[in-house]
Amino acid sequence: MGQGILLSAGADIDFMVHGIFSYELFGQTVWITTTHVCVLIVFLLLGTFALIANRTMRHASDVPTGFQNVVELIVEMLDSMIKASMGSSAAKFANYIGTIFIFILVSNISGLFGLRPPTADYGVTLALGLITFTLIHFNKFKYQKVSGVIKGLCDPWPIWAPINMIGDVAVPISLSLRLFANVLSGTVMMALVYGLLKWVAVFWPAVLHVYFDLFSGAIQTYVFCMLTMTYISDAIGEQ
């Protein structure tokens, strides 16, 4: 913690990741942190939702009622979003994009429920960025073949290859840092409001929650998924 903040607020401000317990793995100390717990909670929530949704859709009726309505609404919204930006290859990636969309969205708004958002840990967002990176390059090699990849690397002239390579590596870093920094800034801001103002922070921080958790979280989820889809359809190229 910064000492200036510590002096003015005591030990109330807390937005760091904490270790819960550690164990040795191949000579490395590995920590199980609060982020793992929060990811687990999000995972259990989504898993339960998925199980209930699966059971409901098995007895689906032509005229949807109740919970079936909600599930169909979510799936239709995700499908139309993916269709709008990926076109003909939407069906292949709907699974992945839909999954990360729901996961990031629930992670981002979990700050509302008192969790520390899992996406405010760089370990989580970097993993998401690396999955996107792998998908981009897998599809690049699959659809453009090796010759196409080399041609893309030496785009104007072969001398530009190192710069293009840096540009490729920067994609997952900028994707993950964007999501991480946005969610972290919201988390820090809320921790400062609650920690510094104490009893003054009654009711009105709800407005800040709406902006930092709901609005910013939803926008960043959308941006992450849009950019992932743009990069992947860029890698697939013209069909």
Binding site: M1, G2, Q3, G4, M16, S174, L177, R178, A181, N182, L184, S185, V188, I219, Q220, Y222, V223, M226, L227
Partner: protein, 84 residues
């Protein structure tokens, strides 16, 4: 040369303050984007939802450079890489 810890922390705080000046760029950029979006809606009110979603997407991407500055400030204040 040896500096004591307090001096390094003070300089880190100044550096953190300087780092968040990076927020000027995205501020100007987002303002320009919002202004042009307002003009576009004024010219073609039917496309309001499309214009709004495009504007929000562009603004969120433009915000990134400012967030890099914020990250540097956070690192300087809380991770304290320079202090001994």
């Amino acid at each position: 040369m040896e500096f004591n810890n307090e001096f390094i922390l003070g300089c880190s705080a100044i550096g953190a303050g300087l780092a968040v000046i990076a927020g000027i760029g995205p501020g100007v950029g987002q303002g320009i984007a919002a202004g042009h979006a307002a003009a576009a809606v004024g010219r073609n009110p039917g496309a309001k939802s499309d214009v709004t979603s495009t504007m929000l997407l562009g603004q969120a991407v433009a915000e990134t450079t400012g967030l890099y500055g914020l990250l540097i400030a956070m690192l300087l204040l809380f991770v304290k890489p320079l202090a001994n």
